[in-house]
């Protein structure tokens, strides 16, 4: 597997940014200052980043309620995201959307989504645009193991094959939908479902950036080549509760601790790149420091940013009305 230094450093930076962003949100949420629901992506960084490493701004992704990681991986500015989560006018959505609705269409980021299964149909549409506009782009639907049981998701798998769309369906399988295990809620296998809807199936360890990068590369190449959609099944674990405030009593003691200890994508990335001498530790340290101050700055800026104004309430319901 060939992987450029540029992609390596950008990917590491993305993963580190997500990690710090989320860990910081976890702390800030506890202060009570952040409104609404917040779902953290911590522990799953290698998935969003490994997939998006193959994409440009003109490829499209759709995300989920657990969207911060996908947004950062696709290049959405951290400062605007933080401000959005704090409900500020300077947020990417001017404080109208919040954590669950961060979007930036100019970067091909079609939105986090508060509706489980909301994204896959939209991605069929984005892929159709790419196909008909012949722009050689692909569209990627991220969704969870829980979302893999929604009718909208399942229908989309079928539609994508019927229309031979340049789409990839990335099942981020962290083993839980809220407090319910995938072993209970998902009958059969994702692999057989892919076959049931006529598309090739790829699978990888989602805590290993290099595994994701390689496998996603294959799935995306398949879709981009015009051969129709593919499914990419990524095995993962989330490190925090379903949303902030969830005590995770449905998970055995030590389950998360073990993940953190043994399957930390950042630790393993660092270990691997220095073992095979792909990147120097100093470069990584520099990124770490950089990211740290970026996140600090984002939080400070968000807290200081102006709130929306009264007139914002009525703005942007329609283009014209």
């Amino acid at each position: 597997m060939q992987i450029s230094r540029d992609i390596l450093t950008r990917s590491y930076r993305s993963m580190r940014t997500i990690r710090d962003f989320e860990e910081r949100l976890h702390v800030e949420f506890a202060t009570g200052e952040i409104p609404g629901f917040v779902h953290l992506y911590c522990g799953e960084e290698a998935s969003g980043v490994g997939v998006c490493a193959h994409l440009t701004d003109t490829d499209t992704i759709a995300s989920t309620h657990r969207g911060h990681g996908h947004c950062i991986a696709k290049g959405v500015a951290v400062e605007g995201m933080m401000a959005e989560i704090y409900g500020r006018q300077t947020g990417v959505c001017h404080g109208k959307g919040g954590s669950m609705h961060i979007a930036d269409l100019s970067l091909g980021m079609l939105g986090a989504n508060g509706i489980v299964g909301g994204g896959p149909p939209l991605i069929c549409g984005a892929a159709l645009s790419h196909k008909l506009l012949k722009d050689n782009n692909v569209a990627i639907a991220f969704y969870g193991d829980g979302a893999s049981n929604e009718g909208s998701t399942l229908e989309s798998l079928n539609l994508a094959t019927v229309w031979q769309l340049p789409a990839v369906f990335v099942v981020e399988d962290n083993g839980y939908g809220e407090a319910t295990g995938a072993s209970y809620a998902c009958a059969g296998t994702q692999k057989d479902r892919a076959a049931g809807f006529g598309m090739p199936y790829f699978e990888c360890d989602g805590t290993d950036f290099f595994a994701v990068y390689k496998t996603a590369g294959e799935a995306i190449a398949h879709a981009r080549s015009g051969k129709g959609p593919a499914m990419l099944h990524v095995h993962l674990s989330r490190w925090y509760g379903h949303f902030e405030g969830d005590a995770m009593s449905y998970r055995a003691d030590g389950e998360v601790a073990k993940q953190r200890a043994e399957h930390d994508c950042l630790v393993n990335f660092r270990k691997y790149v220095s073992e095979v001498s792909l990147l120097e530790t100093s470069v990584l340290d520099e990124i770490d420091a950089d990211v740290k101050s970026e996140i600090d700055a984002a939080v400070i800026a968000a807290k200081a940013a102006p709130l929306p104004e009264d007139a914002d309430l009525m703005r942007d319901v329609y283009v014209s009305y």
């Binding site: 499209t60 759709a62 947020g91 990417v92 959505c93 001017h94 404080g95 109208k96 959307g97 609705h101 979007a103 930036d104 269409l105 100019s106 079609l110 939105g111 989504n113 508060g114 509706i115 909301g118 896959p120 149909p121 939209l122 991605i123 069929c124 549409g125 984005a126 159709l128 645009s129 790419h130 196909k131 008909l132 506009l133 569209a139 009718g151 909208s152 229908e155 989309s156 079928n158 539609l159 019927v162 229309w163 703005r315 942007d316 319901v317 329609y318 283009v319 014209s320 009305y321």
Partner: protein, 341 residues
């Protein structure tokens, strides 16, 4: 200008817009028909033939038959609209919105607001509505109140072939999600329709006639019923203004209030289920904003709070009718405020 049916007017609007703009595409179940079959292609052109011939002219890439899976293809239409195409998706019977409401209500309608103004979703969803076809409870609903209730959607209920063509072209050129509802009983109605493309703006009501005594607001097919009632009433010296709002969202509240200010009497005709429908919406508007002008109770001519029955006798009883409108207008025209008020 030539006589065209409601069906032809819609077909022509689609055809002309697809010729004009390559980003306009069509999708839906059997909007062409014949894919995967052993016979001819473009076999149906829609279940009632409204989109006939469009795949033959524009090809399979732009006129896309879909599997029977409304959530995915209506959602796909929304996603395509947000990323550069201008899809017209056909839901066939509006009753099927039960299978895809999320993609309309929570996705397409809300993108722009949730995303702080950063999305544009030039999507049209066409569907047929209404009773009178013996299609029973699951294929006869009107449901435009449901769409009207949802901020972010525009809702169109054309009342004639001329209206249908102009409003559909407007809908396709509009940058917001538009629900375009065609009364299934009207497809064979004919009138003179210009051959060239034209648009009718949203939110501007049409007065199909003006009168002094009673204002009638009616939607879609009910405009015709109202006009017929007005004809009959005229003979007895009761003159009516008939308002066709054309779009329920946006609603031309100005015209409605102006007309009520003139006549002081209002009848609303709405074929949708009576609770929280357009008749209540217009009545509330007037009771709040034209209260002073009102000389009589606001009467609604609406169906009862029941599903649509199958049998013709019951379906006729269910529907608003020219007779019921006439009676309602007579009652408000004859009404005089009690002494003590």
């Amino acid at each position: 200008m030539s006589k065209k049916s409601f069906r032809q007017a819609i077909n022509e609007a689609l055809r002309q817009e697809m010729r004009r703009d390559p980003r306009v595409i069509l999708m839906g179940e059997d909007v062409a028909g014949g894919r995967g079959g052993t016979g001819v292609k473009d076999a149906w052109g829609g279940v009632l033939g409204v989109t006939k011939g469009l795949q033959t002219e524009f090809g399979e890439d732009r006129v896309l038959d879909t599997p029977i899976s409304e959530a995915s293809y209506i959602g796909a239409a929304a996603g395509a609209a947000a990323t550069g195409l201008r899809p017209v998706a056909e839901l066939m019977f509006v009753d099927f919105v039960g299978c895809c409401l999320d993609q309309i209500m929570n996705q397409a309608a809300k993108f722009r607001y949730m995303f702080g103004g950063k999305a544009r979703t030039p999507l049209v969803i066409r569907a047929m509505y209404g009773a009178g076809f013996n299609a029973a409870a699951q294929h006869s609903q009107a449901l435009y109140p449901l769409f009207t209730h949802i901020p972010g959607l525009k809702v169109v209920v054309p009342s004639s072939p001329y209206e249908a063509k102009g409003l559909l072209i407007e809908a396709i050129r509009d940058d917001d999600p538009v629900i375009f509802l065609e009364n299934k009983v009207m497809y064979d109605d004919e009138e003179d329709v210009p051959d060239e493309p034209y648009t009718i703006p949203f939110g501007e009501a049409n007065l199909t006639r003006e009168g002094d005594d009673v204002t009638i607001v009616a939607f879609g097919r009910m405009v015709n019923f109202a006009n017929q009632a007005a004809d009959r009433l005229e003979k007895d010296g009761i003159s009516c203004t008939v308002i066709d709002p054309r779009t329920t969202s946006p609603l031309d509240t100005g015209t409605i209030l102006d007309c009520v200010a003139d006549t002081g009497r209002l009848v609303i005709v709405d074929e949708s289920s009576p609770r929280c429908n357009l008749a209540t919406d217009v009545a509330a508007l007037v009771a709040e904003e034209a209260f002073d002008a009102l000389k009589a109770p606001i009467r609604r001519v609406v169906p009862p709070h029941t599903p649509v029955p199958f049998s013709t006798v019951l379906e006729n009883l269910y529907m608003p009718s020219v007779e019921k409108i006439e009676a309602a207008v007579r009652s408000v025209a004859a009404y005089h405020v009690k002494e003590e008020a």
